[in-house]
Symmetry: C2
Subunit: 314 residues, 2 copies
């Protein structure tokens, strides 16, 4: 059987998996990320896993390694430059290093793009040639897939949809732009908004939670299902503003299918419905009918699956 290593490098952990061409995860594990150490450490972790699975799966033919990294990858498909969450890395020829350590081809791609590719090959986008994958979490990430291929832009940094401005007078984002989408619907900003309006909702169970610990988006999701008005208000606003962003993206790209993943997307219809309502009542009329939001289906395995997909698609 043919298989590939799928590696998903995150800020705190690295997911590693052995994936068959049909998308079956034959084996998987997770190790700590040493982002402040030399990148050789990470390469060592990957090649250790490679040797390990070769021993444990003697009948599987491993044909290469695909790697998702949190940062911009040069158009050579292998070089990572100063990923913000891997402080010990400068300009790293990660593809070449892993290829050398394993003796097999290695492919590197931005993590949001890899997740989009995973959903496209094995998940919610299997039957959709062109879509935008939106990841709602700490940040708001994007991956653009056009005709089954990742659209990378001229320098490899396309899909930064969290940093489109939805209010030119809005608050300054971490990135320095004004009123970025992420500045409203990134996880902590959703919570900030709940804190801002909570006193108008005296009887909300949110106050009981806050008496004990910090509030999380998943609390709001649970409370919204039980009809809590504060939670519903906060999530509806999140969905509404997501809809504003999706409308702009659709107007530029004329891609009308959006696959929505990430932790915040777990709030489901309380976010999806107002987003859809915004687009269907505010987008250019001829575009409305084909608009579609689909929940991502691979959860946090989109990364390793998409990374393995990099190998099979190459």
């Amino acid at each position: 059987m043919k298989a590939a290593l799928g590696v998903d490098i995150g800020g705190t952990s690295i997911k590693l998996a052995l994936v068959s061409e049909s998308g079956e995860i034959l084996d998987q594990t997770s190790v700590l990320t040493y982002g402040d150490k030399d990148p050789d450490v990470t390469v060592g972790q990957i090649s250790d896993y490679f040797r390990d699975v070769k021993t444990r799966f003697p009948s599987v033919r491993v044909v290469g390694t695909g790697i998702g990294v949190p940062g911009t990858v040069a158009l050579d498909g292998g070089t990572v430059s100063f990923p913000p969450n891997l402080k010990g890395w400068g300009i790293v020829r990660l593809g070449d290093m892993v290829a050398e350590a394993t003796g097999l081809p290695a492919f590197v791609e931005n993590d949001a793009n890899v997740a989009a590719l995973g959903e496209g090959i094995y998940g919610a986008g299997m039957d959709v040639p062109s879509f935008v994958m939106v990841t709602l979490g700490t940040g708001v990430g994007g991956g653009i897939v056009i005709d089954k291929k990742i659209y990378r832009g001229v320098f490899g940094a396309a899909g930064e949809i969290g940093h489109i401005s939805i209010d030119h007078n809005g608050p300054t984002c971490n990135c320095s732009n004004k009123g970025c989408l992420e500045r409203y619907i990134g996880q902590r900003y959703i919570i900030d908004y709940a804190m801002e309006i909570k006193d108008k909702y005296h009887s909300s169970p949110v106050h009981d939670i806050l008496a004990e610990r910090a509030l999380e988006v998943k609390d709001l999701a649970h409370l919204a299902v039980r009809g809590d008005e504060l939670a519903i208000t906060v999530l509806n606003r999140t969905g509404h503003l997501l809809g504003v962003g999706l409308t702009s993206i659709m107007h530029i790209l004329d891609i009308r299918t959006f696959i929505i993943g990430g932790g915040v997307a777990g709030a489901g219809d309380h976010i999806f419905r107002p987003a859809e309502h915004y687009v269907k009542s505010h987008a250019l009329a001829p575009m409305r009918s084909a608009f579609k939001m689909i929940p991502a289906s691979l959860g946090n395995q989109a990364g390793v699956l998409g990374a393995a997909g990099l190998v099979f698609k190459s």
Copy 2:
């Protein structure tokens, strides 16, 4: 010599030209648009011109007709559906009709895309494989060129950059979306803003103009050069908001060259400089350095040249 007919159908007039493959305009004319009549009338005007140039230029070999239309063109490259400014047209197989009338291949494309192609083949974008053409006029139009080809999106309607929202709480646009870029920097909205703030600038020559006739953007351009504070304020705000829009487009597409045309772009540096300043201080840091705004160079001939280019590129 090889040449093509380039046809640029506007709401009030149709520009027709005979264009050599090197982009020389061998002949050109303009006729009235009968947008409320049957499309056969327009096809007749095109084939009349075709017969006319064949007689007048016997040594030129005409190889086909390219046509820019104000509306969405289906991905078949020939069918136009309900163009808003041609009320007599429903779903029109314009490409087939013109091909039949002339006996030569005919290619149809949205007018903003055609103008972008014109600049790309013969104008400011000749050395730029990927760029976004921004047309500042009554509306704010866009044409996306990726690797020398028009990017049309899944349904052929990509590049509607005038209708990205830069303020989710903003005023409602004609298109029904909130706070569209066009709703701030479309021609009439620039004038609206000047009217809104004019009383703060008692000594501005704008008041003398208004005593006699309606204010136009080109008046503001002239006055700005002479140091009029009202004109400078209005145009700087236009540029600033254009910069907000360009930043969002760049973050999605990772295309960093923008070619700026249309009547409003005639205000030059008073719009260009604040736009550039916004992008260079607010875009994601790694994207800033390569950002470039270039004035369009073909003026209102971009349409016929790009239309002829459709033929040569096919």
